[in-house]
Amino acid sequence: MQGSGEQFPPGDGAEELPESRAPHRVIGTPPPARARTLLETPPEDGPPEPRELPAGPSNLPQAKRAERLVAALFILSMLASIGFIAAYIGLEVGTVGSAGRSNLALGVSMSVAFGALAVGAVIWVRFLMPQVELTEERKPLASTRQQRDEFKKTFTEGAEASGFAKRPLVRRTLIAATVPLAIAPLVLLRDMGPLPGTSLRHTVWRRGMRLLVFGPNTPLRPADFAIPGQMITVVPDGYQDNLDVLAKATTIILKFGPGELKPPTVMNWTVDGIVAYSKICTHVGCPVALYEQTTHHILCPCHQSTFDAAAGAQVIFGPAARPLPQLPLTTDAEGFLVAASDYHEPVGPSFWERG
């Protein structure tokens, strides 16, 4: 730092103001820049330093009007802030209606508080401050040759003094030591989750497990689901609140009239024209929730993969690459719809190990 070796009397900083690199642009008549000083020595003779910024705006009447306006806006902001506090204290929440009223009052007062400050400040800058345009020189960003050489010298000397360059044994062992050190934290992440194993290949569906209607969680007889063209979501009995299970095992059942189902639907897995498919899209796992009766198209609302429910849920359109797996169905002794087994292939999105 230039001048760091010099001693300044305390409080003498005013004399040390650096000369500006900017050319001075004078607007208005400059009064002495420092009219008053605490120094005992009289200020030097000569012309006072020219001002960089004029002391006031050029259009005084306009400035007077602007001043009143700015003050009015600041008062408005103040009132709005008080209103905000009042609204906070005065308006209770706890119901949908009261929360809405509170939101309205708080939001409006907050907007006005900030907005009035903003508009006031802009008017202040535009009409109360003199308009200036200053020019500042740019220095090239690169250091000078000498500075670079000095840096190089310092750096090299340090490197030499440390022996980092001269002592390869130390250098190499240090590098060797840092490699496992860097790997160690990654190992720490191992317990963030279990290994997948074969868990993605199975769901909880077992032979004899009842299908419960999603929502009311009631079992279903084929006769309860007799109108062709319907689609309902079913979940495995006993797991209706287990989200991890539902994320794989949620199933849709659809009722078809005689002769409507076509291959590759596995007919043995259907009961009275009722066919069950996984509800988890084979694209990225959204529930395929939309069904068009007339075309038998199942549509995933996320990315519009479309499956033909009458023909083994084959893909008709969209990014999904595989049909929705079919769940083998049968009925139990009481006549309720049950699974005949688990799905015969993994449900849901593709994964590397799926094959």
């Binding site: 929440v93 706890g94 907050m110 900030f114 200053l134 979501t233 991890d244 694209h283 996320c302």
Partner: protein, 566 residues
């Protein structure tokens, strides 16, 4: 100067300066010059949105429970009373209905996130189209791209936290995409989710990433971004008296301080107004997440729209070989389109620099028309992104415009390739047309509307030369950036070292495309064939371009004598 100011400076000022020796640096800080242009405010919008995000986000953490423990809801929102839900969802409902100001803060937080991302996008485009990323500002360009990427993640994780049906669906898609990545995908998903989807740990994990990890990175990078901007000084738009060696504008104190403070309040006011009257993410209408449920028309926040669209546009390609699954239909759209855009953006300054052999500092921005190829590439990228973004809402568009959904997807599948090419070509024509207009103004002046009859009987319209301010703008950076080296070897000359070999020829060709433009002819014959050969402003490596505009002109033209070619 008032007595108070004096007393303050002599008292507190001396106290501080005795300890910090701050008078000189702080004075420099106060006198720092900030160039003025409306487009320089775009980055400030992002900055202030970020600050508002920090403020409102901190408030939200006081009440939000990042937990997936199941509870039964008993709060103010009657339709969901008695429903089992995660604590995260219940506490978000609680913030919305049972905490005073909670709904307002939640909505400001969400609106500010949208504004943050929108401002970053527009700011990035401004910097690209004006060439403000050029030397010495490449670091800030790269930081900006990283900030954008982090912002995408931060937003995705943030709107996943309430654990409502919509955000859970977004998480499900995220998990499905992660799982599709070859080799590591399944493990990555199991480690992130602590097992199978959805598990019981993802919300707390996303929470700490959302409130600590990414914000800390954002804060550090934003600080670096601002420091570089401050240290290198801001770019300025071309104008009279503005050169590569100066910076013209109003000083930090009091002008910029007051203006930027006002701007912060203005942004806060607009966000508060939006949050009062424009409902955003009404999670109570969606219900708690359940992997069996979904609503039609599920849409992510707008900045994720392009990713969503690329998932939708992709054909169903999947391979099963050697017992493994390559889910091209998932991981290609998830990684490739945005990978192209971000990687391309990151490399662009270096490609352009190399092609042009332009190693000089640039502090005066280009007008987009004067770099037609760059502008055209930018518009092509916007079109690419825009097609994906629109495709991300294809179901809504199909519904609103009564276009069949599949037709719309097929249109997008074609438009993703054709659109950018058309945008490139059209933009280039428009830029060259605008250059031609500028050249005409410079050559012939401004039409006055006054018709005069000459003694010979001929009628002519009087024109007057463009004024100095306008001339400075029009003349700056004509015919793009400086060209690599001389004319190509078709004149039987030996090509310059940088132009030899296949790579060199590519470089020369690229350089020619990049410097395409309409030259201004001193003799007034603006015939306007835009092959760019007329740009003689060759700048050697490391040469300071200094004050002079890079473009042809009588005072520095003709280094190769190719002016004679016209």
């Amino acid at each position: 100067m008032s007595k108070t100011t004096d007393a303050l400076l002599d008292g507190t000022g001396r106290f501080l300066d005795d300890r910090l020796r701050a008078a000189r640096p702080v004075r420099g800080f106060l006198r720092k010059i900030f160039p003025d242009h409306w487009s320089f405010l775009l980055g400030e919008i992002a900055l202030y949105s970020f600050i508002i995000l920090l403020l409102t986000g901190t408030f939200l953490t006081f009440f939000f429970q990042p937990s997936m423990t199941e509870v039964v809801y008993h709060g103010a929102y009657t339709p969901l009373r008695g429903v089992r839900m995660s604590e995260a969802y219940a506490s978000t409902l609680n913030i919305s209905f049972d905490v005073r100001g909670g709904l307002l803060m939640r909505q400001i937080h969400h609106w500010a996130a949208l504004l943050f991302m929108a401002a970053i996008m527009v700011h990035l485009l401004r910097v690209f189209f004006t060439g403000a990323y050029r030397k010495p500002r490449e670091f800030n360009w790269l930081i900006g791209i990283v900030l954008f990427t982090l912002g995408l993640l931060e937003g995705l994780f943030g709107y996943s936290l309430p654990d409502d049906l919509l955000s859970g669906t977004g998480l499900r898609i995220t998990q499905g995409v992660l799982q599709s990545i070859p080799i590591v995908g399944t493990y990555g998903s199991y480690f992130l989710f602590g097992g199978e989807f959805p598990g019981h740990i993802i919300i707390p994990r996303l929470y700490i990433i959302h409130v600590l990890l990414i914000p800390a990175l954002l804060l550090a990078l934003i600080s670096a971004h601002l420091f570089f901007m401050f240290h290198q000084k801001h770019t300025q738009m071309p104008g009279k008296g503005r050169t590569n060696a100066n910076v013209v504008g109003a000083p930090m104190y009091p002008y910029f301080m007051a203006k930027t403070g006002a701007f912060f309040f203005f942004i806060f006011a607009v966000l508060a107004l939006l949050s009062t009257f424009a409902q955003i993410n009404p999670i109570w209408l969606f219900g708690p997440y359940n992997p069996s449920g979904i609503t039609a028309g599920s849409q992510p926040d707008f900045y994720m729209g392009a990713l969503e669209g690329s998932l939708r546009i992709m054909p169903a390609w999947e391979w099963n070989v050697f017992g493994h699954t390559f889910a091209f239909n998932v991981f290609i759209p998830a990684l490739v389109p945005l990978g192209i855009v971000f990687t391309g953006a990151a490399l662009w300054p270096f490609i352009e620099r190399w092609a042009l052999g332009d190693y000089s500092e640039h502090h005066v921005n280009d007008r987009p028309r004067n770099a037609p190829t760059r502008t055209a590439i930018g518009m092509a990228a916007i079109t690419f992104w825009g097609v994906l973004w629109l495709e991300g809402a294809n179901d809504i568009i199909a519904d609103q415009l009564q276009i069949p959904l599949y037709t719309l997807t097929w249109i997008a599948r074609v438009a993703i390739f054709v659109g950018p090419v058309v945008a490139y070509w059209v933009t280039k024509r428009i830029c060259l047309g605008l250059q031609r207009k500028d050249a005409h103004l410079l050559e012939h002046g401004v039409e006055t509307g006054i018709i005069r009859q000459l003694p010979s009987g001929e009628y002519v319209e009087l024109t007057k030369p463009v004024d100095e301010e306008m001339r400075a703008v029009l003349e700056y950076g004509r015919v793009g950036a400086p060209q690599l080296t001389g004319p190509p070897a078709d004149a039987g000359e030996v090509p310059a070292p940088g132009a030899r070999g296949p790579l060199g020829r590519m470089r020369t060709r690229l350089s020619r495309v990049l410097t395409e433009g309409i030259p201004v002819e001193a003799d007034g014959h603006g015939n306007g064939h835009g092959n760019g050969h007329g740009s003689p402003a060759a700048v050697t490596a490391g040469e300071q371009e200094g004050a002079r505009p890079a473009g042809p002109g009588p005072e520095h033209g003709g280094t190769d004598g190719d002016d004679a070619a016209h």
